[in-house]
């Protein structure tokens, strides 16, 4: 469903991604681990066509990301580390706008409230301006937008970084549920525990290269940590 084929991304003299290839199958949750600057976010940006690869190609559902950007974006939902919304609008209004953009139709208020509730946002906060929201509340609106889109693939860039442990856990449950429904998930994270808990596959990136790929059921928490630290120190 999500395929990166020999992707290289160069920023001037700096090579952010170096011949990276990976495939995420439908129903898989692929967790990308790596230190800051390893190239995780660059890879997500390339899947979103926010950046164009220097060489190689990226596909979503066999559609080329660069050649068919709008078609591929119809297939995926994205939750960044910092969900940024329009502060002068309420959470409900933000959800209404982004969901309309995503699916091309206006959802009724009741459905929007259900989506916000499913994402964990208290109902009484729905009509408040987003400018008054905490980072976690904005993140939940972002999740609601992704839920509204009903996408085949989810791209997540450190999505739980702003959430409290309970909300992060609820989010992980949402991911597992989505993957059980056949949704493909590619998420970047620093959280090894979260990766082991929710991921079906784990990739470790270092200096723009994908240095390790493994199935999460094949390693214990301790092994994963040891392996990660080994790569980071080498």
């Amino acid at each position: 469903m999500l395929d990166a084929i020999e992707v290289t991304k160069q920023f001037g003299a700096k090579r952010a991604l170096d011949n990276v290839s990976l495939s995420v199958l439908p129903g898989e949750i692929y967790c990308l681990l790596g230190a800051n600057g390893a190239g995780k976010t660059t890879l997500v940006n390339l899947f979103l066509n926010f950046l164009q690869p220097t060489s190689g190609s990226l596909q979503i559902g066999k559609l080329d990301v660069v050649r068919q950007p709008l078609e591929t974006k119809r297939l995926l939902a994205y939750i960044p580390e910092q969900v940024t919304l329009y502060g002068v609008l309420s959470g409900l209004e933000n959800l209404a706008f982004f969901s309309s953009l995503a699916i091309g139709e206006h959802l009724p208020r009741q459905r929007l409230l259900e989506l916000l509730e499913a994402a964990g946002l208290p109902r009484q906060a729905a009509d408040n301006r987003v400018a008054t929201y905490s980072k976690g509340m904005r993140q939940k609106v972002g999740i609601a937008i992704a839920l509204a889109k009903n996408a085949k693939a989810l791209l997540l860039d450190e999505p739980t970084s702003g959430l409290d442990p309970s909300a992060a856990n609820e989010f992980s449950e949402l991911l597992v549920k989505a993957s059980n429904d056949g949704v493909t998930v590619l998420t970047t994270t620093h959280d090894l525990f979260h990766a082991k808990q929710t991921g079906t596959r784990i990739g470790i990136m270092k200096q723009g290269r994908l240095v390790e790929e493994l199935r999460s059921e094949e390693v214990s928490h301790a092994d994963l940590e040891a392996l990660y630290l080994k790569h980071m120190r080498s």
Binding site: K73, R74, Q82, V88, L101, I103, I145
Partner: protein
């Protein structure tokens, strides 16, 4: 999984509605629209006041002309009947007196129906001349001949609001079209949806263009239609349409510039600086530079040369007829000499000499005046060509054409006045030289002034090609902005 396929139109309409809501919520749009409405209102008021003033002036001189004619007719009848004492230089039976101080006609140019839209050169150039047998240098060339671009600035009229202020308001609304979304982080959220940056930009521009044009175009036109019945003819409605097209094209041009500036991925503050710099270049520096260039390439005719040549020509002419100036004092002791006998009258030699001298001055000065006009025409042609370099110059020329306050209309008025002045002289010349007394019948056959409006087709063409050029410029810049926005990364 259900995936809807949003149509481009519905995506665009979503962006437009969303953008409108954001702009209304943060009150930017409201503030800018209020400022624009106030300026449009004041600019129109100034234009209307100027137009009304000029109408009053024309009405007053025409009233004065009618009163003088009535008085002359009465006096002439009385003189011919021997009921009024003869005054040597105020005798309406004397053709030289009637050609000069006693009568005279006014050549007047009426306001164009849409004059309130731009003051243009109307506060610098006269819209009436008093035609007598005097040399035309004395009444037509006594004001400074100006390069048309010297007259561009200085009036807070509607044209000023459009040419100068509108781009600044476009800058206020458009400097951060994309940069604000990028800086707030919402661009990433937007572009993760099936929405192209080009569609986003078009949607943002559409809202802003509609908001500004919804004030600047209909308000003046509705006001004019309500208070100026002469603006309701089909021809004027077509002119209003072309005015609307011009203003819309000019607004679009500046939004296209803003969109293009936004595609370079700079910060909002840098974009604002670039926009202000471009405004300064296009609206202030280029016109001033072009003005200097016009002055250098085609210098304005020398006022000093004209004054000196006129003085010399007048002195020579007076010398030529000096023997005619000596015999007038006898009329004081012999008023009977001025009586009309068999439809003939003795035209005092001083008046005849003066008439001839003035005629001579015009003949001698004619080549210089022709050169004057030629230079002025060359300047105008140069301004037309150079105006292609600055959208502000381009639109200002067209706006004043529509309002009938451009230099072409004033030049046409000058040409027609000169022709009328010639006819006036030709009418009186045989009467003065052959000492034929004026009759009551003659008073009704005096040459009449009739203003011939410039051909509408000529005005229309000069306006539409400018509007089309402006639209083409806006389209090229807009197309470039859209092409850049679809190619570039959003990071």
């Amino acid at each position: 999984m259900k995936t809807m396929q949003p149509r481009p139109l519905s995506t665009l309409s979503l962006v437009v509605l969303h953008e409108a809501r954001i702009l209304v919520r943060d009150r930017t749009l409201l503030l800018v629209c209020c400022v624009l409405a106030l300026m449009v209102g004041y600019g129109l008021f100034v234009g209307l006041a100027q137009a009304t003033l000029r109408e009053r002036m024309v009405a007053q001189v025409l009233k004065h002309e009618r009163e003088t004619q009535t008085a002359n007719s009465g006096t002439l009848q009385s003189v011919l009947a021997g009921q009024t004492a003869l005054i040597p230089f105020a005798n309406p039976a004397n053709p030289a007196a009637m050609a000069g101080t006693l009568s005279g006609r006014y050549a007047t140019m009426p306001n164009a129906p849409l004059a309130a839209l731009a003051i243009g050169q109307s506060d610098m150039m006269p819209n009436y001349y008093r035609i007598t047998y005097l040399s035309k240098v004395q009444f037509m060339y006594d004001t400074e001949i100006e390069n048309p671009w010297n007259l561009l600035s200085g009036h807070f009229d509607l044209a000023f609001v459009i040419v100068f202020v509108l781009p600044l308001l476009v800058t206020t609304l458009g400097y951060n079209l994309l940069s604000a979304e990028r800086e707030h982080g919402t661009l990433r959220m937007l572009c993760s949806q099936p929405l192209s940056v080009a569609t986003l930009m078009i949607g943002k521009v559409v809202v802003r263009v509609l908001a500004l044009l919804a004030i600047v175009i209909p308000v003046p036109l509705v006001v004019l239609l309500l208070i100026r019945p002469e603006a309701r003819s089909a021809e004027q409605l077509v002119l209003m349409l072309s005015w609307s097209a011009l203003v819309a094209a000019y607004g679009l041009f500046w939004f296209a510039v803003a969109a293009l500036v936004n595609t370079f991925g700079r910060s909002s503050s840098t974009n604002a600086l670039i926009m202000v710099a471009l405004w300064t270049i296009f609206v202030l520096i280029l016109p001033v530079t072009m003005n200097l260039a016009v002055g250098l390439v085609s210098p304005a005719p020398s006022r000093t040369e004209l004054a000196s040549r006129t003085r010399v020509a007048t002195a020579e002419s007076l010398r030529e007829y000096e023997d005619l100036y000596s015999a007038d004092y006898r009329y004081a002791s012999d008023p009977e000499a001025l009586l009309v006998k068999d439809e003939r009258i003795e035209v005092p030699s001083r008046m005849r000499g003066f008439f001839l001298a003035k005629q001579k001055v015009d003949e001698q000065i004619e080549p210089l005046l022709k050169r004057f006009d030629q230079q002025l025409l060359q300047q105008q042609k140069l301004v037309d060509r150079l105006s292609l370099l600055s959208p502000a110059m381009l639109i200002n020329e067209a706006l004043t054409s529509i309002a009938g306050t451009d230099s072409r209309r004033f030049l046409a008025f000058k040409d027609q006045t000169e022709a009328f002045h010639k006819r006036w002289r030709q009418y009186f010349s045989p009467r003065i030289l052959e000492s034929r007394a004026m009759t009551v019948r003659d008073l009704s056959s005096l040459p009449r002034w009739h203003w011939v409006e410039m051909p509408a087709s000529e005005i229309r063409w000069s306006i539409w090609w400018r509007a089309m050029l402006m639209l083409a410029l806006a389209s090229v810049l807009g197309g470039l902005a859209l092409a850049r926005s679809s190619r570039g990364s959003i990071e």
